[in-house]
Symmetry: C2
Subunit: 192 residues, 2 copies
């Protein structure tokens, strides 16, 4: 399981074996069952979490109890609540597992230490954050300019093979449409 992270860091961050060992030294593994929480509303997020297997979801519960999914975390993705992590404030969100999942956790202190001691780790972290921001910007743009069908097609592009883990009503939640509307979009798209 640690091998997945090692491969990832070698490929994405170009870390040396020694540097990878430093990262490995401060990771904690955590196995989650389906539906188990990684982070619950009100908790403070202290970790950056690498998804080694399985599938996670990051979502918020509205006042009426409805769930709104901000993002999914599949293999080789990192999940955390950055707002809570950075500011030390209670999270407004939940993170839980959509399937049996294996995570590798790095605590905030250790993470910051890695950032400060391994230049390539910092560079990779910066690139990752930049890409996340760009993705968020593009998603906003999609929301203010695209039709629901276009949003759905872009989603397929971002998460090509996600339907193994994620039921359609959660995809609908991610897109901000009702499950019925998504069903009709898919239907219409299949025909044309």
């Amino acid at each position: 399981m640690l091998k997945i992270l090692a491969d990832y860091l070698q490929k994405q961050a170009s870390l040396t074996d020694d540097e990878i060992e430093m990262v490995r030294a401060c990771t904690v593994t955590k196995k989650l069952r389906k539906r188990q929480y990684l982070l619950q509303e009100g908790d403070v997020c202290h970790y950056n979490c690498f998804v080694a297997s399985g599938c996670m979801r990051f979502y918020r519960v509205g006042e009426d109890g409805s769930e709104h999914i901000m993002t999914f975390g599949v293999v080789n993705w990192w999940v955390s609540d950055q707002e809570s992590y950075n500011n030390g404030t209670p999270s407004k969100n939940n993170i839980d597992a959509l399937a049996e999942s294996e995570l590798l956790l790095i605590e905030k202190k250790d993470w910051e230490n890695l950032v400060n001691t391994i230049p390539r780790f910092r560079d990779w972290r910066d690139r990752l954050k930049a890409r996340s921001f760009d993705a968020a910007q593009n998603r906003i743009m999609s929301h203010i300019s695209d039709t629901s069908e276009e949003k759905y097609l872009k989603f397929l592009n971002s998460y090509p093979d996600i339907f193994n883990c994620v039921p359609l009503h959660m995809v609908a939640s991610y897109l901000g449409v009702s499950r019925e509307t998504l069903s009709r979009i898919r239907n219409h798209y299949a025909k044309s």
Copy 2:
């Protein structure tokens, strides 16, 4: 005009006078007329731009010619196309002035130099990016869970006194609704 930036850096980044002087040394001032471009689709973004006065808009033009506003830049805000800036790729967006505006530009090389030589500058930069990301996340959440009226109210909160610069049909564009719908939301809100 440079004083506005100096005050900003002193307050937000806690820079010393010497450090502020270093920043000041590499800023270029630019005055823009109403409707003048700061960045045009296809250009590569080479600067981080501080808004000393006036008001800017960051938007994308759809295939059908429609304009979709991603964000506004008012006094004390920074504007740039991060995706283009970071990757050196042609921008998909436009930035122009909604009113006579004064900007302070810092070129990428100089900016990165400041980041690497002034620790507090880097820290401030990181905090700024983190806040931008959080804001983007919250805006996405708003789009997938709020009604148009709620989105409008949150907009009022983010940009309390923006109506001096920005016509309502641009607010509508920012929110992703038609100008007629925004007009009706405001009307309804005023009555209740």
